[in-house]
């Protein structure tokens, strides 16, 4: 870190544009929000910054605390599901032939090329009462019913008298499904990066010493890619926790998340101080997650990080 002393002009010239950008578009608005969070609403647009903690105290109200806990719960469920799906996917990609791997990764990243709103609406078309999932289920039901009739069991109505579409939308499960769909690449990519760097001869050594694939996975692969798993979990959990569009479109009346509440404070409720306080609480939870991840990474120095 010595060269900058020798050419301070070059150093400043390189640093200034990004620093200015971050200052104007990140630090400044965030500082304003931080100040607002200690203020009172005056009239329609005015905010009196009087260092009150009332906004933070209000966040502890069971109503908002409940939503915050529920947000953590839904984001956690989505992250766990992402891990369950993402780990086998990342394993499969990392064991595919080298020249196929970039194409498989492209398939994982492909959904990013479409607008989130459009993807979410597409998911509605899939999940709604007369959507594609229910079409398939109905087809299966009639096929099953037809089969029962064929073998002479039609009269017992084992499958019920008719097909009732499953309500797959506007509930917590729909929000989790949507979050998993949107955030899966965030999980797969760090996992793949960690697996890619894993020395293959370690896996072979484990097999050579008599361990099957399952035990090799739990005793050798999983512990060594743990930092990658931690990265994937944090990188998935943070945006999932702050998700706004997905719970708004796919969730029911009781499955709103904290971001929806914040949005309401800034728009419908016109309570910027309270919205700011909630925003910062959300950010502190995020910081806490990142701190845990750094701690984990520091403790396990020997592993393969993402």
């Amino acid at each position: 870190m010595e060269p900058w002393r020798k050419a301070p002009a070059v150093f400043v010239a390189n640093l200034l544009p990004p620093a200015a950008w971050l200052g104007v578009f990140f630090v400044l608005p965030l500082s304003l929000l931080w100040l607002y969070s200690f203020g009172d609403k005056v009239g329609i647009t005015g905010i009196d910054i009087n260092w009150t903690l009332a906004n933070y105290a209000r966040a502890a109200d069971p109503l908002y605390l409940g939503i915050l806990i529920k947000s953590v719960w839904i984001a956690g469920a989505a992250t766990l599901t992402c891990l369950m799906i993402g780990l086998p996917v990342a394993l499969a990609i990392s064991f595919a032939p080298r020249h196929v791997q970039p194409w498989l990764l492209l398939l994982i990243i492909l959904p990013f090329w479409t607008n989130l709103l459009i993807r979410t609406y597409a998911l509605i078309a899939v999940l709604r009462t007369n959507g594609h999932v229910n079409y398939v289920l109905e087809w299966l039901w009639s096929a099953g019913d037809g089969l029962l009739n064929l073998i002479g069991l039609g009269g017992y109505q084992i499958l019920g008298t008719g097909f009732t579409p499953w309500s797959l939308l506007y509930n917590d499960a729909a929000v989790v499904t949507g979050l998993v769909y949107v955030h899966l690449p965030f999980m797969v990519l760090p996992l793949y990066a960690a697996l890619y760097r894993l020395d293959r001869s370690l896996i072979e050594a484990s097999l050579d010493l008599g361990a099957g694939h399952l035990r090799t996975f739990f005793y050798v692969i999983a512990p060594l890619v743990l930092p990658g798993i931690a990265s994937g979990v944090i990188i998935t959990f943070i945006p999932a926790l702050g998700a706004y569009l997905t719970p708004d479109l796919l969730g029911g009346t009781d499955s709103q998340m904290i971001a929806n509440v914040i949005e309401r404070q800034f728009k419908a409720a016109n309570d910027w101080p309270f919205g700011s306080a909630l925003s910062f609480l959300l950010m502190y939870i995020t910081f806490f997650g990142l701190a845990v991840r750094s701690l984990l990474a520091g403790r396990r120095g020997g592993g393969v990080s993402a």
């Binding site: 001869s201 370690l202 072979e204 097999l207 050579d208």
Partner: protein, 365 residues
């Protein structure tokens, strides 16, 4: 099937082939490795020796042929069920486990009783002289120590055959030499069959009891080190093992049965023991050549005259490069046996190079 194989054969490779894309890595290889043997597979990089080792370990499946270990057909037997263990080139020590956990890994997988695991782990670490390092972490160990951990981890399993993939290539010259000796001793102590893969022919010569030389996926010769060096069966083996001078020529049968007359450009017409017709190669090892300043030849010797071009000093011996007219210079080796004798030859000297006719190799392939 097992009855066909003699009791002392531990590995039997029958017509094994393996292709990677368009590359024929292993091409119809057959060989037998005896119980308790220190066997080496040598060859230049890309000759298929490592692939053959990985086929034995079960990391690759042969396209054709089959492998029998202790009389059992290994077709369809996965790596984790084979009675062999491997010492990896990169050592493949589990970085998240300490020395003891690394070494006892296989025994824990095999669900051996606790007492047995502890006793055998201790014994294996003693064998490789790592007692006292049980709780050390792999990144606290030197390269040589890491290799000993890998060795202990494989030996603790008491495999039928220990497969060693270029085990010494990552060590520095001095340590490598010490480790070569130690491995030979270790092999004698434990009595386990060692199958080592190396590109270093001198390493194979010094360690192994028998050596298979591979080239382009097939085995060229299997013989003990001495035979491989003094009686190579083809040009490739002669050239790959040690240093050698080669002379192209043509052969036709001599009047006497069992002898041939070989005509080479540099050596003229020679009559040698052997049986060949058509194009052949004559070969002589550098240390067989006697250098002298007196002109004229001796009885039963092949003689050449030339000018010393370069002398490479190696301490105990020196290599001379002698210009004998057209083509490659002749390589000769002289022993520096006299400390105060001064140089016997100097660059620019006109010398006679002679060797006995029986030291000349007649190579037909």
């Amino acid at each position: 099937m097992a009855s066909q194989i003699s009791q002392d054969t531990i590995i039997r490779i029958e017509g094994v082939s393996k292709k990677f894309g368009r590359l024929q890595a292993v091409d119809n290889v057959s060989m037998e490795i005896k119980r308790g043997e220190f066997f080496a597979l040598v060859g230049p990089s890309g000759c298929g020796k490592t692939t053959l080792l990985r086929l034995l370990a079960g990391f690759e499946t042969p396209d054709a042929g089959r492998i029998l270990i202790e009389g059992r057909d290994m077709t369809g037997v996965t790596a984790n069920h084979r009675p062999v263990n491997m010492l990896f080139q990169s050592y493949a020590i589990f970085p998240h486990m300490n020395v003891e956990t690394n070494v006892s890994y296989g025994l824990k997988i095999a669900r051996r009783p606790r007492d047995e695991i502890m006793a055998r782990t201790e014994e294996a670490l003693g064998l490789v002289k790592l007692s006292g390092y049980e709780k050390s972490h792999p990144d606290e160990l030197s390269g040589g120590q890491r290799q000993r951990v890998a060795l202990a981890r494989a030996l603790v399993m008491r495999p039928a055959v220990l497969l060693l993939d270029e085990p010494l290539s990552a060590l520095d010259a001095k340590l490598r030499e010490a480790m070569q000796l130690e491995m030979v001793h270790l092999q004698k102590t434990v009595g386990i069959t060692f199958l080592i893969v190396t590109h270093d022919q001198s390493e194979a010569l010094s360690m192994a009891g028998r050596i298979a030389v591979m080239h382009q996926g097939s085995v060229r010769q299997i013989a003990p080190p001495g035979e491989l060096y003094e009686a190579p069966n083809c040009r490739f083996v002669a050239d790959f093992i040690g240093k050698i001078n080669l002379f192209e020529g043509t052969a036709r049968p001599a009047d006497q049965p069992g002898r041939v007359r070989v005509h080479t450009e540099k050596l003229g017409i020679l009559e040698l023991q052997g049986d060949a017709e058509g194009s052949v190669t004559l070969a002589v090892r550098p240390e067989k050549i006697i250098i002298s300043h007196e002109p004229g030849g001796l009885e039963g010797q092949i003689s050449l005259h030339g000018t010393v071009m370069d002398i490479a000093y190696f301490g105990g011996h020196s290599k001379l490069f002698i210009d004998i007219g057209a083509g490659q210079p002749l390589m000769a080796e002289i022993t520096n046996s006299n400390r105060n004798g001064g140089p016997r030859v100097a660059p620019g000297d006109r010398v006679r190079c002679g060797w006995r006719a029986v030291d000349t190799l007649l190579l037909t392939e």
